[in-house]
Structure formats: C-alpha cells, structure tokens
Amino acid sequence: MTEQNGHIHKLDICGQICPSCLLIALKEVNTRRDMLLGGGALHIYTDSRQAINTIPGSVHNMGYQTKIVKSEGLYCIEIQKA
C-alpha cells in the first residue's frame, strides 16, 4: 500500500512474505530516485524484524541515510539523501 504526502512517500509492507520487504524497498528507492535526490523522503512501514536490520544497510550502500522510528508495534524506516 502506498501513499503520497507532499515530499514524503509512504509505503506500508507490513505482514509481507520474506524477503519481499528488502526487495520492494530497494525497488522503491530506485524508482523514486529523483524524488529522493530532490529532497523528498521515503517512509517504509514494516513489522519484519529481518527487514529492519537489512534495509538500512542496503540503502546506505546506495548512498542514502536512514532513521528508524518505532511506534504502535511497527517500525518506520525513513529514507532520504545523505
């Protein structure tokens, strides 16, 4: 499920099969490259403990920075340009 809010693009991938979260996250980062480089942000909501550990490292290797916020049992991985 995706949602656009100004310069923030939200993506909810809670409950999805492993390793969808990482594959989808990488695909979204590539698809929204221009938006991210233009100062936008991608917020990925996930409940996958594996994704929380793997997405930040992979996205960092692509030249972006991440911040992880947990609220109401979900993790939000906030991605933007470094």
């Binding site: 409950g15 492993c18 390793p19 989808i24 550990n53």
Partner: protein
C-alpha cells in the same frame, strides 16, 4: 501417566518455549540463510548456521564421551537413499515459497504472521497428502537405496566416529574463530530486543543437546504435522484415514534414556509417543515466539497482503509438508541433529536442499515478489 511421558512432555515444552523465544528475537530463519545467499549473495547468516552445526557437533560428542548419550545414532534415522536428495530439492523450493521452513513457520505464526498461519495450513495439508502415496514412495526409497544399511558416514565406511568428527571439529572451529575475529558473526541490529543470532545459535545447540540427553533424540517436529493433519482428516473421513498404511505404522519404538519401558508412536491420529515428544515442542515454539512479540509490543495482525503472496505460502506450505515426509524430516532434525553426527540421510538432504532453495528463489523473485502490492 507413565514417568517416561511426564519427563518428555516437560522437556519438550521447555525446549520449545526457549527455542521459540530465541528464534523470534534473532529472526533465526534457516530458509532465509540459504535463500539470501542466492538472492543477495549474503553469507552472513549461513556462517551462523555453520557455527550452530559445529557447536552441536562438539556438544553431542562431548556428551557422548561422558556417557550422557544413550542412543547413538538416534532413533528414526534410516539408511541413505537418493530419495533423501529428491525430498530435499522439493523441501528447498517449498520453504522459499512458504516464507519459512517447518520451524520458521511456527515462530513467525506465533509472532502474528498471517501468511505463516496460511503456510501452516498448507503444511498440515501436504503432510496428510503424503499418506496417499506413501507406499509408492517407500518402495522407491528402497529401490534407490545407496551405501548399504549404515546410518552415518562412519558406519557406512566402517570407521570409528571420532576419525571423521575430530578433523571436522578442528577445521570448523578454526573457521568459526576466524569469522569471529573478523566480526563476521555479528549482525547489524536496529530491532528492539534483538539477540545476536550467534548467541541464539549456541543456545539452540544447547537446547538440542538437552533434548538428545533427556528425550533420547534431537528436536524434531514434522511427524506431528502429519499426525495433526490425520487428526483433522479423521473428522471428515475416518474410514479413509483408517485405510491408509502410513497412518497405521509405528516408526518410533524405543526406550527413552530415563524410561524403564519402550514407547512407540507414528503419524496416525492417536496420542502416542510422537505426540508426547513433538506436540509440546510445536506448542512451545509458537508460544515462545508469541510471548517474545507480546513483550516487545510487536504483536499485530496484518491481512492486506498481495493475493499472490497468499497463494505462494499456501503452495509452498503444501510442498514443504509433503517433502518433510518424503525426505523424511526437516531443517531442524537434519541440520541441528543429523549433520552434527554425520547422518547419511541428513547430508543427502542438504545436497538436495541447496539446489531446491536456488530454484525456489528464482520462482519467488520472478512470480511472487513483484512490487508494493
């Protein structure tokens, strides 16, 4: 109730609870360990798996040297056959599509994964379906038997176990220490309450040893899936269940280490020795993961996943359920229990599991994971 059963029930439940908690906290997914190598060329969790096998091997043979192991090799192991490889291939494909193997499905389901609950339904269905073609598969297994009647490599080649075990332990220990010095066993961690997988690997090896010493065999759960499947099937078609040879057999017949008399059990719906050993373990893993997720406030059900993912986990679950009977058994039994004692069936299973996982990864990335949903 006999004392044999009381001790087995308590031990299995305790092992399951501890394992479920650790599996969830470390996201100790054996499917992911193999799959992520093929999808991302990521070896990090495979190193942890090697650590667990090496530690299990050291613990089991140390305990054996101290006289703590009664049954060596443990019950239910059979002679080697090419069908162990074929079953491994099917298991590998299925576990990737199901998003987890037999144990992975349990701890993920316990922590609230709806997809894993669907995969669990598939596992029960596949396990019960196997009974329909068991006689043919058992016949093929005999026809394709290899290396005689030996159950372990040393038995097959007429060697003392330590002739093979000690060199493997020395090499494995060196490898693991090398990875540890380079920091390659430590995972990046952002999840709350995360337990480093290498810690869980060591703890799970100890849990496996406790089971081996007290119950008389390492952790194993797949026969109980067939048993549970048969129980459900019996509600609708009792005469058919009674007519299937697979559900009448009592493959397990042994005297537990702390027992005075033999106990027996099989895949049929009866509450027998298999039920006493495996049902508490299954329940414990689910409950342990549930408690872990609850304590972290991460227990939340999500239903809005793509339909193709529901289809994938159901098909994958059925394949894993069938394959777990065809091999026979699963990752836990073979990787934590069989490989550390160089059981032939377990080694052949791994030979099949690797290409199976590769094939499953191809199917998953091409047909299942295609976008946000």
């Amino acid at each position: 109730m006999h004392d044999e059963y009381t001790l087995i029930l308590i031990t299995s439940l305790a092992c399951g609870l501890a394992a479920g908690f650790l599996l969830h906290r470390s996201d100790f997914c054996v499917t992911g360990m193999f799959r992520d190598f093929f999808l991302f060329r990521d070896l990090s969790m495979l190193r942890v798996l090697v650590l667990m096998i090496v530690v299990s091997m050291a613990l089991v043979h140390g305990a054996r040297a101290l006289g703590l192991i009664v049954h060596y090799p443990f019950p239910l192991l059979g002679a080697m056959s090419v069908t162990n490889i074929l079953g491994g291939v099917l298991f590998g494909i299925g576990m990737v599509l199901a998003g987890g193997c037999v144990v992975g499905t349990l701890y993920k389901m316990g922590s609230g994964s709806v997809l894993s609950a669907v995969a669990f339904g598939g596992l029960l269905t596949g396990s019960a379906l196997y009974a329909e073609f068991h006689p043919a598969w058992a016949g093929l297994t005999k026809q394709l038997a290899i290396f005689g009647s030996g159950k372990t490599l040393p038995q097959t080649f007429g060697l003392d176990h330590y002739v093979l075990i000690i060199p493997i332990l020395v090499f494995g220990g060196w490898l693991v220490l090398r990875w540890a010095r380079r920091g390659q066993l430590v995972m990046p961690s952002h999840a709350d309450g995360y337990i480093q997988p290498w810690i869980s690997a060591v703890a799970l090896a100890v849990i496996g040893l406790v089971s081996y010493i007290v119950v008389g065999m390492p952790l194993g759960i797949t026969t109980s899936y067939a048993k549970l499947g048969a129980t459900v099937e019996q509600w609708f078609a009792p005469e058919h269940v009674a007519s299937l040879a697979y559900f009448q057999g009592k493959g397990l017949n042994y005297t537990p280490p702390f027992g005075a008399q033999p106990i027996a059990g099989g895949a049929g719906p009866e509450l027998d020795a298999v039920a006493a050993i495996q049902y508490p373990l299954v329940a414990g893993i689910v409950l342990g993961a549930f408690v872990s997720a609850l304590l972290l406030r991460e227990l939340k059900l999500h239903y809005r996943m793509p339909v193709r993912q529901y289809a994938s986990v159901l098909i994958g679950g059925i394949l894993v359920g069938m394959a777990a009977r065809m091999v026979p058994a699963c990752n836990v039994w073979h990787l934590w229990g069989g490989v550390p004692i160089l059981a032939g069936q377990s080694l052949l299973y791994v030979v099949g599991l690797i290409p199976g996982t590769w094939l499953g990864s191809l199917v998953l990335s091409k047909y299942v994971v295609r976008g946000p949903g």
